[in-house]
Symmetry: D2
Subunit: 139 residues, 4 copies
């Protein structure tokens, strides 16, 4: 069974748009926050630390697919359920589910890589294989 | 040939994260902005108007798939190229390409619907078929 | 003694900028979230409700003054302490303190009004005196 | 006469909240964007460059005061007019005006410092006097 992190929070007024519902780019902000909480709960150091020790600056998204099933609005208590679905040679797959109670609001599958800065310049990135010690911590 | 709207802007410091690159949820903010500019350029009224005339509060995203090919950072001059790839009975498909010069940075395919408020409550939405006059304006 | 609401949360990676610290416009997002939590904790209905019953769409900010004393970064556990410092005839004053443990990170004084839509159009607002029942709930 | 930079853009749907007007924390995002454009127009290098050459990571805000005079909504063409009002020994003062045509929507006075990383750690900052060559470029 995959380890699951549950990130609980309330949707805020400022997260919502003139249609009175949460503005969908914020869903990705929430998935990303939950990703960091997931890693933190596994015992991974912060990216500030890993940049110093391994050169790893984070886990940028390579590919994301998201289905939006029901809207949510401010005041709603919601949860993101985050787990790692698959480890690949140079990448891994996050699954995020946004839920309000039993209702699934959105579901997202995200391919990410562990990345270091490329020699070409400070804003060029290069994927590296997931560090084995991180894989183990996340299992 | 599909009509293409090109939304030009500069990536801002505040769009970037501690890895020094644009934070990916902002890509969706940019795609959404370009979507509205696309409709505006076709001559569609604002959602404020359509809510009064047709009950339509906007075009919420049902499904999005995005590939991130290269990062971008503040100061970069970028463009979103937005077009409608397909009209379906109850939905339509936006294609967005984020480019810096000739370089494709990200590509996104978004299924959206025209939505009205559902009778169940102000934050419940209901898809309606794309109004024929809007389809015509966008062609 | 004024009633104080304490809004606790963790600073997220996506809240931070290339200087590795929380991007200051987000401080206002946090103060605004804490304002809504404050009202909710007092028993005020949501703005969705008040728009229907009283025409009140929220409490827009008229004036804000903020001092930034120390930076914060992702992973930090922080608190916004929110209270109402003063009720005036047509406005009121929020005080927000952002704290990390005993350390004061930022302090903000915000003049706000209860607002209804003005007859000139949907995006024109008009201040109304704070409803006495709301003042009482917040005391 | 102070040099003035005019940052023109359109308010986006995603900048607006359920009250249908631009969410006020975004005003600070706009002022900050205009600040960077101001420096760029003066010929200052990016903070990526100055971090390497001078250790300067940017100009964090120490104090901001903002008056909000009229709301704005998506589709509005607006301008931020940014200038430096005063140079002090260890800080300087930005003035930002948000305008729609002749109408002043918001006015903000911001005290900022040029900052380097403090020896205590990567997220501790230290103000340094404005570099004379930067003062000259901005005059």
């Amino acid at each position: 069974m995959a380890r699951v992190y549950v990130h609980r929070f309330q949707v805020e007024f400022g997260d919502c748009d003139p249609a009175q519902i949460a503005y969908y780019p914020n869903f990705f902000r929430w998935f990303d926050a939950s990703s960091r909480h997931f890693f933190e709960s596994c015992g991974l150091p912060s990216w500030r630390e890993t940049e110093k020790t391994l050169g790893i600056i984070g886990t940028p998204v390579v590919n994301t697919t998201c289905r939006f099933l029901a809207p949510t609005t401010y005041g709603d208590e919601v949860e993101v359920h985050t787990s790692i679905e698959e480890w690949r040679e140079k990448s891994f797959v996050f699954k995020h589910q946004l839920r309000r109670g039993d209702l699934l609001l959105a579901e997202c599958s995200e391919v990410r890589v562990f990345a270091i800065r490329a020699p070409e310049g400070p804003t060029r990135l290069k994927a590296v294989p997931p560090p084995p010690e991180f894989k183990q911590l996340c299992s």
